[in-house]
């Protein structure tokens, strides 16, 4: 390998990292300009992808104060960075107090947490056990009070 080619690969790596960071920035700026982060419509469209059957799913932790507390703990660990510690949205992440979120059924929210919205930057939380996703849903639903 010549001295010149030694630098090609590290150079490409740096370029790729810069591209990844810039791409992420461009996407977030684009979303910020064209879709207000607290826009109900975008949230409605995303949640509307949930299959019909999910609307009938009941939260097994419904009415359990401990589950709300556990959900709040999980929210702070996994969600607060994007959605804000008060869940009112931050940057391109939506305000979770919106009626679009609060009027969604628990099943739709659990489905949305499991699937995410990968193309729009919301990661899938399928790596969390189902029980913990339901606990987060219990917390989200408690925000309307």
């Amino acid at each position: 390998m010549t001295p010149m080619t030694r630098w090609i690969i590290p150079g490409l790596l740096v370029l790729a990292l810069a591209f990844a960071l810039a791409g992420s920035a461009a996407e977030q700026d684009h979303e910020h300009r064209h879709e207000h982060p607290t826009d109900d419509r975008g949230v409605l469209l995303a949640i509307a992808q949930a299959p019909q059957r999910t609307r009938e799913w009941r939260n097994p932790y419904e009415g359990q104060p401990d589950a709300v507390l556990a959900g709040e703990k999980l929210f702070r660990q996994h969600c607060a960075e994007c959605h804000g510690s008060n869940a009112r949205g931050k940057g391109h992440a939506v305000n979770l107090h919106l009626s679009a979120v609060q009027n969604a059924t628990p099943g739709e929210l659990e489905w949305f947490l499991r699937n995410g919205n990968l193309w729009r930057g919301m990661p899938s939380w399928s790596g969390l056990p189902e029980q913990r996703r339901w606990q987060i849903v219990a917390y989200l639903k408690s925000l309307r009070r």
């Binding site: 390998m1 690969i9 790596l13 790729a16 990292l17 990844a20 960071l21 791409g23 992420s24 920035a25 996407e27 977030q28 992808q49 401990d66 589950a67 507390l69 556990a70 959900g71 703990k73 999980l74 660990q77 996994h78 960075e81 940057g91 499991r114 699937n115 995410g116 919205n117 990968l118 193309w119 729009r120 930057g121 919301m122 990661p123 899938s124 939380w125 399928s126 790596g127 969390l128 056990p129 189902e130 029980q131 913990r132 606990q135």
Partner: protein
């Protein structure tokens, strides 16, 4: 004490110091990672060292991992092969990762063995019962690399008995591809990886596999913040090995390992994992021990971008 991972002509006089250096550097970096970073998030981790699941890094987050493999060597010297990973969530469907590899062999020497750059893509935007992920990696390492991040072709323990001075002369410019299939079911993650690796200069395609299963000790979270509660611990096992080459696809002459593992995720964002591995045939190392510590920095991409505004 001056520490370096670069080869030195006087291996015999400095080998013990070098291994100590690797250990202390790793320990120091681990402590810095765990204590030094101001803010973090807890990621959704699987405790595997070789197998990949379909869970990608959250977009904009950077995870720094320090891992090591200790291997016992028949007809040779035992070794410790540390590697550092920088894993960045470029998009919710794309994770890119950069590795730096090194190794220290008892009674021989220690050296930097190369770097890797991998990318994982989720082609399907929704969760399914089996979720595919496409993996592409470029490796620029030398023959002394002993990290065993994957086992392919006819990789075997005898490869690691070659002295470092000789092994590092071999240059490996490789492209590695994986098809990752992964499922989550009732708290379990079950992942299967099919590996194809090609030396860009010569040699046929080499194939390998990795299969893993893991589960948290407790599925639901407790309402209190705790470090030692069962919900923070994951247990699992993985099995991996080579499947021969495109010229000779076979199990004969290949090496295989079975490795149980335990992972511990702290609410602060740090996680630890350890995995003893057992060779399943004579081509394998009898025993390997892997351990790692990682820390996730949230909003790393945002912080970097803010520097350029």
């Amino acid at each position: 004490m001056a520490c370096t991972l670069l080869p030195h002509p006087d291996f015999a006089g400095s080998k013990v110091k070098r291994l100590r250096c690797i250990f202390y550097l790793g320990l120091l970096c681990s402590v810095c990672i765990v204590l030094g970073a101001p803010k973090s998030v807890a990621a959704q981790e699987t405790p595997y060292f070789v197998t990949y699941s379909h869970h990608l890094e959250e977009p904009g987050n950077l995870e720094i991992e320090m891992n090591s493999t200790y291997g016992t060597q028949r007809r040779g010297n035992d070794f410790i092969a540390p590697w550092v990973e920088f894993e960045y969530g470029a998009k919710a469907w794309w994770t890119t990762e950069f590795y730096l590899d090194g190794q220290g062999t008892f009674h021989d020497g220690a050296l930097f063995t190369g770097f890797r750059w991998e990318n994982r893509f989720r082609p399907l935007m929704h969760e399914h019962s089996i979720n595919p992920v496409l993996y592409v990696e470029y490796e620029n390492t030398n023959g002394a690399d002993k990290t065993m991040i994957e086992v392919v072709g006819f990789d075997g323990q005898a490869d690691h008995a070659v002295p470092n001075s000789e092994a590092q002369q071999e240059h490996q410019d490789e492209l590695e591809t994986k098809l990752i299939l992964s499922s989550d079911y009732k708290g379990w993650n079950i992942s299967e990886n099919f590996i194809g690796e090609k030396n860009l200069g010569h040699d046929p395609w080499e194939f390998g596999y990795a299969v893993g299963a893991s589960r948290p000790l407790r599925l639901a979270a407790t309402s209190n913040s705790c470090n030692f509660c069962r919900e923070n611990f994951l247990v699992g096992a993985e099995i991996y090995g080579g499947l021969g080459t495109s010229w000779n696809a076979t199990l004969s002459g290949t090496s295989h390992y079975l490795a149980p593992m335990v992972g511990w995720q702290l609410p602060s964002g740090a996680s630890f994992r350890i995995s003893p591995g057992f060779g399943l045939n004579d081509n394998s190392h009898r025993f390997i021990l892997r351990w790692g510590v990682s820390y996730e920095i949230d909003g790393f991409g945002h912080k970097v971008r803010s520097l350029f505004r």
